[in-house]
Symmetry: C2
C-alpha cells in the first residue's frame, strides 16, 4: 500500500497509482480527524469519493501516533490524550471514538486502536501495552458492531498483534486475539519502530505458525524493497510504508540493482532510464539526465517521477514475488534478488 | 503556450498539458544554457525528446532576461554580459551565440535575441533599444542561416517588434522588420513590463494595421485570461505567461466567474468543482473542499490540480474565442465575457 496519510499520496495523483498497479492505499484516522476532519469527509461522501480513489483503502487508527507523537500524548486505560501537532488543542482518542472516526471515513479495512511502544521496550512495558491493546480491541469490536457503516458498505476491522520483540508475548497476544473472533485479517504492529532487523525477522518467524494461513497478514509500517522480500519470506501479505514516496521526493530511486541517488554528478549526461526494463511512465519517457536536471533545478515534476517510479517498483516487485510463490520458486528467487540488490545499492546522501 | 522555462512546466506532467489541449510550450534559451546546458540537451536528442513533448515548442532568446535580470548584466552593441543568477559566472550572449543555443535546443520556433527595456522608458531609450534589436535581428538571421539545425528539422526564426509605448517607434520598427525578410511570424515584445494596460492596448491597436494579417502575431509574456481576450480583440494569435501555473501554485483558480482563492475558509465544505462545467481532470474528480484541504495541508497535488485547471481554462478560453471568430460573434462574446469575469473576481490574498 502506498501511504496517503492526509487523503493524498504525496507528490502523486490517484491516476499515477492506478497506472502503477497499486491495489490499495493506506490513510490515517488520527491525521484526518485533525485535518480536514472525519465529519467533513463523511459529508463529502467518504474517503474514496473525497480523494477520487475507487480501489480499496485501509485506515490506520492513530495507534502509531501514540508512538511517533509520544511527546504530545498521555496514555491511560480509557484511551490517549493528544495535544494536536497542528494547533496544540487537546484531542482524546479512545477505542470507541476511533471506531466512529473510521466509520465516518469509510475505508474498506479499518485498524483497531492500539498502544504502540518503542521497539526495544522491556518485557514488562511490552506486556502492559500488548494487554491494553487487547482490551482496547474488545472495546473496538463492540463499538464497531454498534456504529452503522456511514455508506452502507461493509468494512473489515483488523486486530493488531503487539508484544514488542518478546516472542512469548507475541504468541500469547496472537492466541488471545484469535480466540476473540474469526477476524478477516491480522495486523502485526510494533515493528520497524527502532528494534534491530534480526529482532523483527525473529518475531515474524514466531508469528508465522500462530496466525491463520488463510487470512491476510499486514506488517504495519514496513518497508523498503528488501524488507518486503524478507517479509514475504516470513508469510506477510500486506505492507505499507512512506519509503517509496519519501525517498522519491529526496531523489532516491529503487532499481533492481539497488538504490541510486539521482542527484549525483555521474547522472548529468546519463541517457538511460532510472531502471532498465521498467515500464513505469517515468522510465518509458525520461532519462536519468532529465530527472537529475529536475532535482538540481528544484522542479516538482522530479519528485513526482521518482515517487511514481518507486511505487511502481514495489508493486512490480510484489507481483514478481506472487508469481514466484505460484511457481514454487520463491525461495531461490528471493535469495538471488536480495543478493543482487544489497551488493549494488548506493549510499544515501 | 504554457511556460516551461527549465524544460518542465512547473507542477505539471507533459501528459497533463496534452490532456488540457495545450498545443505548444514555451521554453527559454538563457535558462537552459545555464542549466542543464544546451549542449547537453542537444546530446540528449533535443528539447522535445529531453522533456517528452512531441508537440511544438518555442524558445525565447534571453532578451527578456536583459530586462528581468537587469541588475546582473551590461549591454553593448556586440551583446549582453550576464553574471549567472545561479553561480555568478560571466556569460556573454550575442545574437550569434543565442542562435547557436537555440539551434542546439531544437525548438520549432526560436526568437531573435533582443534588447528589452522597462515599459515606461522614454522615447530616446526606446529608440536606442529598438534600433539595436533590429541590428541584432540582422545578425541573428545571418547566424541562423549559417548554423545547421541540430536535428535536420526546420525551425522558424521570429523577429520581435520593440519600441516601448511609443507608437511612431513601433510602426517604424514593424516596417523595418517587414522589409528585411518574409518572416513566418512576428513577436511583439516589450509589453507587460511595467507599462499601464491602456498603453499596451494602444500599442497593439497601432501594430494591428502594420503586421501582415496572414502571419501569427505573438504577444510575449501575456497574460491573464482578461489580457488574452483583450489581445485577441487586437489581432494577437499567440501568448505565453506563467500566470496559470504560478497562480495555481499559489492557490488561485481561474473560473468563468472570475478568479477564486481556494484557500479561503468559505470553501472548507464546498462540494462543487473549481469551475462549474469545466471538463479538466481536476474539476471532474475533485471538490473545492478537497483541493482546499490539499493547500491547507501543503500537499503537492493541490498545486498540480490548480495548475492543470488553469492551463485547461486558458486553452478552452482561446478555443471559444477562435470559434467565436469563426462564427463572426467574437466582438459580442468578448464584451460579455469580460464584463462577467471582471465583476466577480475575488481579491488575491
Amino acid at each position: 500500500m502506498a501511504v496517503g496519510t492526509l487523503a493524498t499520496v504525496k507528490a502523486l495523483d490517484p491516476e499515477d497509482l492506478r497506472a502503477a498497479g497499486s491495489q490499495m492505499i493506506l490513510s490515517n484516522a488520527y491525521h484526518l480527524h485533525l485535518r480536514p476532519g472525519d465529519e467533513l469527509i463523511r459529508q463529502m461522501g467518504g474517503l474514496h469519493t473525497f480523494m477520487a480513489w475507487d480501489r480499496p483503502i485501509l485506515t490506520d487508527s492513530g495507534g502509531f501516533q501514540v508512538f511517533s507523537l509520544s511527546a504530545l500524548r498521555t496514555v491511560d486505560e480509557d484511551g490517549v490524550e493528544f495535544r494536536s501537532h497542528i494547533d496544540g488543542s487537546a484531542r482524546r482518542f479512545t477505542p470507541e471514538s476511533v471506531m466512529q472516526i473510521e466509520r465516518n471515513l469509510g475505508a474498506d479495512v479499518i485498524m483497531q486502536f492500539d498502544h504502540v511502544i518503542p521497539g526495544q521496550s522491556d518485557a514488562a512495558t511490552a506486556r502492559d501495552a500488548s494487554e491494553r491493546s487487547i482490551r482496547w480491541l474488545a472495546r473496538c469490536r463492540e463499538a464497531f458492531n454498534r456504529i452503522e457503516p456511514a455508506f452502507g458498505v461493509p468494512q473489515a476491522l483488523f486486530p493488531i498483534v503487539q508484544g514488542g520483540i518478546h516472542e512469548d508475548l507475541r504468541v500469547e497476544a496472537a492466541k488471545a486475539i484469535k480466540g476473540m473472533h474469526d477476524w478477516q485479517g491480522f495486523g502485526i504492529g510494533g515493528l520497524s519502530v527502532g528494534e534491530a532487523k534480526p529482532d523483527m525477522y525473529r518475531i515474524l518467524d514466531c508469528l508465522h505458525a500462530e496466525l491463520p494461513s488463510d487470512r491476510p497478514r499486514y506488517l504495519m509500517g514496513v518497508g523498503f524493497p528488501e524488507d518486503l522480500v524478507e517479509g514475504v519470506r516470513r508469510g506477510v501479505d500486506l505492507f505499507d510504508c512512506v519509503a517509496p514516496t519519501r525517498m522519491g521526493r529526496n531523489g532516491t530511486a529503487f532499481t533492481n540493482d539497488g538504490r541510486i541517488n539521482i542527484k549525483r554528478a555521474e547522472y548529468r549526461d546519463a541517457g538511460g532510464p532510472l531502471d532498465e526494463g521498467c515500464t513505469c511512465s517515468a522510465c518509458t519517457r525520461f532519462t536519468r539526465a532529465y530527472i537529475r536536471h529536475l532535482f538540481v533545478s528544484d522542479e516538482m515534476l522530479g519528485m513526482r517521477l521518482l515517487s511514481l517510479h518507486n511505487v511502481h517498483f514495489l508493486v512490480a516487485l510484489m507481483r514478481t514475488a506472487r508469481n514466484a510463490i505460484g511457481t514454487r520458486t520463491f525461495d531461490a528467487w528471493s535469495r538471488q534478488w536480495l543478493d543482487r540488490y544489497h551488493s549494488r545499492s548506493q549510499p544515501d546522501e
